[in-house]
């Protein structure tokens, strides 16, 4: 049963990824602009254009191009970037760690802000404390990461310049890193001076990404906790003599968190989607920033590669959420 | 021989068991009703009683064709409706009405009570003098006419259930299915609704299938009774006879398990 469900899940994932590939392929090829013309120096002849066209496979029919491209993708070949003239896969893999570190830091910040606030609000339900959390949460929720980013740039970049507002790491520093996971590696290598510099750069963009998610976690988890806390087994725990905090942590939290998990997973994919513009805003050298450049340069292979990588991350997050839901829920675990 | 409105033979209902649905293809079917034979007399309230999982609600839904039976015949007023497609059912729908257990769920929250009662009448060509008809339907169930302008949430539980009755009876149907309609109510309200339904049934000559888990309520209201267990009929017959001399052990157990509001010291140990 469980295995069957898992296989079904993998199948739908594959269908989703294929759909994404088709959509992005079709969308970028109805574009009126000619990427080849953009990369040639003025005065190049028509035969130069034809030669390049053939080189990038753009002379074939759309379905043919798609089959060739998809065949390459399945073998790990995403093609060559037109504007950067490099292998798409290595370009993407070079930038992906920066984005993953930023998104993960943002997720941790959102959980660190949202979780305790949700518990506090549920504990103080019906009081002014809860009302305050509701108002703040409602406002934080409706302001998107882009605006938070700008606001934080003003506050921490201009009014009180505590943090960096541009780039990933100070350019003057000498980087001993072997991988692109700078933050992780700086910690592993015990180079905390570098960690501090990286965090100083990541703090504001991560906070901008984290705030809307923190608000959603606060409100959803608090609501879920309140519902669970009206159930008989929680009342029973109070009668047993457990204190309110014990009751929340022992009995309510896990059952309240489970139903919010799926929604928080979806919201986390939104957060990752938000890195595109936030990276741009903070000139942070991640995948999203590269994606915008790729669109502006009409770099078709690079756009396709990046979009597909994002889609892969999204479906993997959803899969991870489903799996952890199944693992945490005894009802499913014992199918 | 009493005049029969429903004649049911070999009624089977199976529903897909989504819990055991395989990866591809349809879910296996789970048998809910295992071939029921019974009749419902005209102008008579028949009680259908059983514990949870007995299939009584599924039976009711098959009678009013919210479900399509998987086998058997359901002859209603001369038509076998067991497998009629929806268009062919349409002219019969007017005569197959239903009152639901939970009026919070069965009354559309965004419509006035008047609109809720009027909609079925308009649909079945009774659009003329509609306000008068709505007022009459409300009066019939003992509600003031000005309730037509109210919404569900402005009514008490008993009043909501009266609206459910008014809506079902507005079409003057030949048959009404009442599914656990008093189980959510307090005893005092329950007594009012039972008395009302009894009085309307005799005035209007209604044929009602009254589904309930409560034998005391069945005893109060129904002339005939069908006792169900696990998708089968255990016993059926006139209510008086069934209570006076139950033939089946299960019926006897069911009756003996009802706590009467009387002091009886060894009831618990019996």
């Amino acid at each position: 049963m469980i295995l069957q469900k898992f296989l079904l899940r993998l199948m739908t994932m594959a269908v989703t990824l294929f759909g994404v590939a088709v959509v992005v392929f079709v969308v970028i090829r109805v574009a009126p602009g000619d990427p080849i013309a953009m990369m040639l120096p003025p005065g190049a002849g028509p035969e130069d254009i034809e030669r390049l066209r053939a080189l990038y496979g753009l002379d074939k029919s759309l379905p043919q191009q798609f089959v060739i491209w998809l065949g390459g993708v399945l073998q790990g070949d995403f093609g060559t970037s037109i504007s950067l003239r490099q292998d798409v896969l290595s370009l993407v893999l070079g930038r992906l760690p920066a984005t993953l570190e930023l998104a993960t830091l943002a997720l941790l910040m959102a959980l660190a802000i949202g979780g305790p606030l949700a518990i506090l609000g549920a504990r103080e339900r019906g009081t002014a404390v809860e009302a305050g959390i509701d108002v703040a949460g409602g406002a934080a929720l409706s302001i998107p990461d882009f605006l938070w980013g700008l606001l934080l740039i003003l506050v921490f970049g201009v009014l009180a310049p505590i943090f960096e507002i541009s780039g990933r790491v100070s350019p003057s520093l000498d980087l001993p890193f072997a991988t692109q996971f700078y933050l992780v590696e700086s910690i592993l290598r015990l180079r905390f001076d570098l960690t501090a510099d990286l965090l100083a750069h990541m703090f504001i963009p991560a906070l901008a990404l984290a705030l809307p998610l923190a608000a959603i976690i606060t409100l959803l988890l608090k609501q879920s906790l309140k519902e669970v806390m009206d159930l008989d087994y929680v009342v029973l725990a109070r009668v047993k003599g457990f204190s309110e905090t014990q009751v929340i942590l022992r009995e309510a939290l896990k059952n309240a968190a489970l139903p919010t998990l799926t929604l928080i997973g979806v919201q986390f994919t939104f957060l990752i989607g938000g890195t595109v513009i936030v990276e741009r805003l903070f000139s942070y050298e991640g995948l999203g920033n590269m994606a915008i450049d790729a669109v502006i340069n009409r770099d078709l292979p690079l756009i396709q590669g990046i979009v597909l990588v994002f889609a892969l991350i999204f479906v993997l997050i959803n899969l991870a959420v489903d799996l952890s839901y199944a693992l945490l829920n005894p009802r499913l675990r014992h199918g | 021989m009493a005049d029969r409105l429903f004649t049911v033979e070999g009624l089977k209902v199976s529903l897909p068991d989504m819990a055991r649905k395989p990866l591809l293809g349809p879910a296996p079917m789970l048998d809910i009703l295992h071939g029921l034979d019974f009749t419902l007399e005209r102008n008579c309230i028949t009680g259908i009683v059983g514990e949870s999982g007995s299939g009584k609600s599924t039976l009711g839904r098959a009678l009013v064709r919210l479900l399509e039976p998987s086998a058997g015949s359901v002859v209603f007023d001369g038509h076998d409706i067991a497998h009629l497609p929806e268009p062919a059912l349409k002219p019969l729908r007017r005569d197959l009405q239903m009152i639901f257990q939970d009026p919070m769920s069965s009354l559309n929250p965004r419509r006035t009570i008047g609109a809720i009662i009027a909609a079925p009448m308009r649909h079945h060509g009774l659009a003329d003098r509609i306000d008068e008809r709505v007022a009459a339907a409300l009066t019939r169930v003992g509600l003031p006419e000005n309730f037509a302008a109210r919404y569900r949430h402005q009514l008490s539980g008993g009043q909501r259930q009266r609206v459910g009755i008014a809506r079902a009876l507005a079409l003057e149907p030949k048959f009404v299915l009442a599914d656990e309609i008093v189980s959510g109510l307090d005893v005092s309200t329950q007594a009012q609704i039972l008395t009302l339904l009894d009085q309307l049934a005799s005035e209007m000559g209604l044929t009602i299938a009254f589904i309930s888990h409560d034998l005391s309520v069945i005893r109060r209201l129904c002339r005939n009774t069908i006792v169900m267990r696990a998708g089968r009929i255990v016993e059926a017959g006139p209510t008086d006879a069934l209570f006076a001399a139950p033939r089946e052990t299960y019926t006897r157990e069911l009756i003996a398990a009802i706590p009467l509001p009387e002091i009886d010291d060894d009831w618990l140990t019996r």
């Binding site: 159930l231 003599g241 204190s243 022992r250 | 514990e51 005092s188 009802i258 509001p261």
Partner: protein, 295 residues
């Protein structure tokens, strides 16, 4: 009546909603040690609120504004919150209404049954485990090890209710609040559960505050009864007396409105509007007096 020691004594208990309306209107009642006292009434009568006030689990916004609750000689109001919680945990227990929501779906049955013994009462884990195995045997559960290791969804409704009853009696409480413990069950299961509660109650000498809306259940399980309407006790009597000669018009009306399979159709009478009008007057009089006393 002989002068048995009182297990629970509630005096002039009033509780209010956030808007100031009273849900309990100066409720007084006594429960003798080892006695089953039924609280009966229709929805909105406040019957569950009394148990919740005693156990300190009133819903958010509902406050006890007046009155005393005395449990085995200790006035609960005089205790600090933590001490009160410990006393409640040690001396009382709750059998809740809905066995489906009364067990934590993500914890195994065993720890849910032992946590009061080990975490609140400080029993060693081994003796707590031995104790619940004993209790499971008392509620006629044949495979205690399977049940202890099970998650709630692996047990039937009747089974879960047995587990809850066993857990309630496990710490030998002096008083159990049973809040409509059989309402969600089928009649045949209800009878088994009622029998079980009565058995254990007699064997352990536990007092029970039995909340129900069903006069039939009241007649079968309780020794004394309080009939409630709108948060007021309208009649209080030993059970045999109440059913033989109900005094208050509302009690009479309630009895006449309860259908009985032994009586033919005609005997059922809806509650008379005169009775309701009289009750409304009583409520108003009580509120006027209360307001005068409280400004």
């Amino acid at each position: 009546m002989t002068a048995q020691p009182l297990c629970l004594s509630i005096g002039a208990l009033s509780a209010t909603l956030p808007n100031g309306d009273r849900v309990l209107r100066s409720v007084s009642l006594d429960v003798a040690a080892g006695e089953v006292h039924a609280l009966v009434g229709e929805s909105g009568a406040g019957k569950s609120m009394i148990g919740k006030a005693l156990l300190g689990v009133l819903p958010p916004g509902v406050r006890q504004v007046e009155g005393s609750i005395t449990l085995e000689g200790t006035r609960l109001e005089t205790l600090a919150p933590a001490a009160r919680r410990r006393l409640i945990g040690a001396r009382t227990a709750l059998i809740p209404q809905d066995p489906l929501t009364a067990l934590n779906p993500s914890r195994r049955i065993g720890p849910q049954m032992t946590d009061r013994l080990t975490h609140i009462l400080g029993w060693p884990a081994a003796s707590a485990r031995a104790r619940i195995r004993e209790m499971l045997a008392e509620v006629h559960i044949r495979e205690p090890d399977r049940v202890i290791a099970a998650y709630p969804h692996e047990l039937s409704g009747g089974m879960r209710q047995r587990v809850l009853i066993a857990a309630a009696f496990a710490a030998e409480p002096r008083l159990i609040v049973a809040d409509e413990p059989t309402t969600a069950l089928d009649v045949t299961v209800q009878k088994q559960i009622l029998r079980l509660i009565a058995d254990l109650q007699r064997r352990h000498g536990t007092a029970i505050l039995f909340v129900t809306h069903d006069l039939g259940v009241v007649a079968k399980i309780s020794q004394s009864v309080s009939v409630l309407y709108a948060g007021m006790v309208v009649e209080r009597a030993p059970a045999p007396e109440l059913f033989a000669t109900p005094r208050h018009a509302y009690t009479k009306a309630l009895m006449a409105a309860t259908p009985r399979y032994t009586h033919p159709a005609s005997s059922l009478q809806p509650v008379n509007s005169a009775v309701l009008a009289e009750l409304a007057l009583e409520v108003r009089a009580a509120d006027t007096e209360w307001k005068r006393a409280h400004g």
